[in-house]
Symmetry: C2
């Protein structure tokens, strides 16, 4: 424990810069990350409310990405302007003003050049599928429920088709305005942990709904016996209609953000 | 898949007996298992509603134990009268009428002599403690949050004092009318799984709030440095005031029921 005098001395010695916040949140009751004109509750608006309560002014907060309604984050990074509170105390103060569905795991001072979105070198998502005959009450809104058998090993082999640099236009929801649809997938591994089949995927960037369409395609692969080559053909076609359906938001977790 | 004719022949060939239902439930929004006069929502009343919807009459359901408000069950056993629906279809039908917080994992025909409570030879509970500096949004109402360090290994050693046949009067909430307070604890093991410290305890029976008071005493042991002998002394004292506080309901899970 340092006293207030020492802390405020230290704070003055650090050049003016930004604060990086690492959050975790259960997205079930949020309308995604981004503030919306309709005024619905989003993670960003909730965090801005908490910052306003703590430091007395409303500061803009910039996130590493948008997450959709119902999507979760084990790790989500955002930045904001410097706040005149030491980082350790800031985490505690923000957590006491945030609802239990959001927590600040870490607050740290970062150079002015840091930008939560533009400095991001890549992200890792996990998609959880609860693969048992009957639903699990503890996984409602926390995983996709899929009762038919899934063979994680053979699906993981087929999913290697996603790895590498490809045009992922077939794995982007229609309506997205992005023109450059080439991304590099670093890994796409599928493992079983008891009743949970988990897809872990990292890339330098993701298109709108890309992980959820990949998850839907992996389930379609199980149902239709798609091989690794079949998945390669779907990617090459650049046709959204050839990929599987968009899997539900509740199974998706932003897991790591790389800088 | 069998056709209806074959199924109804099979059903008629089985002598009249009982149905054993194995459930799992998230107890967060229930006022415990047992139907209450005040008409609040309990797991038992919810299950009886579902049975009534499925078979057109309200049947009594007998549970293996009472669980308190907010306590969860990975496995809870109850029995009811025979219902004129094959067991496999009964599970599906009940699950479609139950809220997502409860699921029937198994329905099976059992002999008339089976009684969910009186045939029970023992139960296993787990108590989950989330042991990290900041709360985990995914464990709200699912684990006790305890931010100070816990050493699972040394606590597990001390907790061996609970094993064996003892008078557990010191570990029973006041107000309970039970006179025979001797129980046999088969094991009481404490393990760490990442950020979760988990107490797993089995006994031939449990007194009212016994596991929650044991959990509270284990945390008190960490704070006050209680040894295995200190815990033995608390047990021998038969004084509730010597044991630790009653840990919150949300960390407790009925995990297995032995017959």
């Amino acid at each position: 424990m340092t006293d207030n005098f020492t802390e405020s001395q230290n704070l003055q010695a650090i050049p003016k810069n930004k604060i990086k916040l690492t959050l975790t949140y259960d997205g079930t009751n949020f309308h995604g990350w981004q503030v919306q004109k309709s005024g619905v509750v989003t993670v960003q608006s909730t965090l801005q409310d908490a910052i306003e309560s703590v430091c007395g002014k409303r500061l803009p907060v910039t996130g590493c990405s948008r997450t959709d309604a119902g999507v979760h984050a084990n790790e989500f990074v955002c930045h904001t302007d410097i706040i005149n509170i030491p980082c350790e105390k800031l985490s505690v103060a923000l957590n006491s003003h945030l609802p239990s569905s959001v927590a600040v795991k870490k607050a740290e001072l970062v150079p002015d050049s840091f930008h939560a979105r533009y400095s991001c070198a890549g992200k890792e998502y996990i998609y959880k599928i609860f693969n048992e005959k009957y639903r699990d009450p503890f996984l409602i809104n926390r995983a996709m429920f899929y009762p038919r058998p899934l063979d994680a090993n053979s699906l993981s082999f087929a999913a290697q088709a996603f790895c590498g640099r490809h045009d992922f236009r077939a794995f982007m929801s229609e309506g997205s305005k992005i023109s450059d649809t080439v991304r590099t997938v670093k890994y796409c591994d599928i493992s079983r942990f008891g009743d949970i089949v988990q897809i872990k995927i990292a890339a330098d960037g993701f298109l709108y709904n890309m992980v959820r369409i990949i998850a839907g395609t992996i389930i379609a692969a199980s149902e239709k016996g798609f091989s690794r080559d079949d998945i390669s053909d779907i990617i090459s076609s650049c046709q959204r209609k050839n990929a599987g359906p968009t899997a539900p938001a509740c199974g998706l977790y932003l897991n790591k953000v790389f800088y």
